[in-house]
């Protein structure tokens, strides 16, 4: 019974996060200006991080936690570098 509840909840959460990633990807592809694309990339990174946490609950493996942490750190660095590039025209000055 509890396995069935958990299996359904994890499946629904994974589908919802996959749809959220698809919406962020659509915004990243079609965004009118560059800042919309960067915002879509940031949302895509955040949703991928949450999807990795849900994969960790599904498999019971705590290795996915480290994957999720790395995705979050890379997303932060990527968004800050891209915002700095949009502001100044170069990343490190």
């Amino acid at each position: 019974m509890s396995a069935a509840i958990l299996s359904w909840a994890v499946t629904i959460a994974q589908i919802a996060l996959a749809i959220a990633m698809a919406l962020a990807l659509v915004r990243m592809i079609k965004g009118p200006r560059a800042q919309d694309r960067v915002l879509g990339l940031d949302a895509l990174y955040g949703n991928a991080m949450l999807l990795m946490l849900v994969f960790g609950i599904r498999t019971g493996n705590s290795l996915y936690f480290e994957t999720s942490l790395i995705i979050g750190a890379l997303g932060f660095v990527a968004t800050v570098a891209l915002a700095k590039f949009l502001m100044r025209g170069e990343v490190i000055e």
Partner: protein, 141 residues
């Protein structure tokens, strides 16, 4: 999911509740990112996923691993602290970059960079409401 059969029923219900709250709020935030009109509206939407979406999924993960391993597992809080610290930093940098680009393009939808200085107020003091209006207008940037 093979080892999840020995979970107690209250833990399964609690994990399912927090998972659905977190994933649903993340989906609503991304739908707002897809649907809203201007960039300054859109930048608010994904923070739904980075505040309560992350908190819900992290809480579900903490409950699941704590019940499965029969001890307190709290390392998921590291992700929560990291996301809470980094999200305002990235979004403030991105919104300031967008504001700079809109001002460089002379977009009429954004307030100007500097309000008119006190020189106009000294030269003709009957136009006093104009600088105060401009001050309040740039104050909300």
């Amino acid at each position: 999911m093979n080892q999840a059969a020995d979970l107690p029923i209250w833990a399964a219900l609690l994990i399912a509740l927090f998972l659905l709250i977190g994933a649903g709020l993340t989906l609503i935030g991304s739908f707002g990112l897809y649907r809203l009109r201007s960039f300054y509206d859109r930048i608010h939407a994904p923070t739904l996923g980075t505040s309560w979406g992350t908190a819900g999924i992290i809480t579900a993960s903490i409950i699941y691993f704590s019940v499965m391993e029969s001890r307190l597992v709290l390392h998921q809080l590291l992700i929560g602290a990291f996301v809470i610290v980094t999200t305002p930093v990235t979004l403030i940098l991105l919104s300031r970059a967008a504001l700079y680009r809109d001002r460089a393009k002379n977009d009429p939808g954004v307030p100007p960079l500097d309000p008119p200085n006190n020189t106009s107020e000294i030269s003709n003091p009957e136009k006093e409401p104009t600088p105060t209006h401009n001050n309040t207008h740039t104050g909300e940037v």
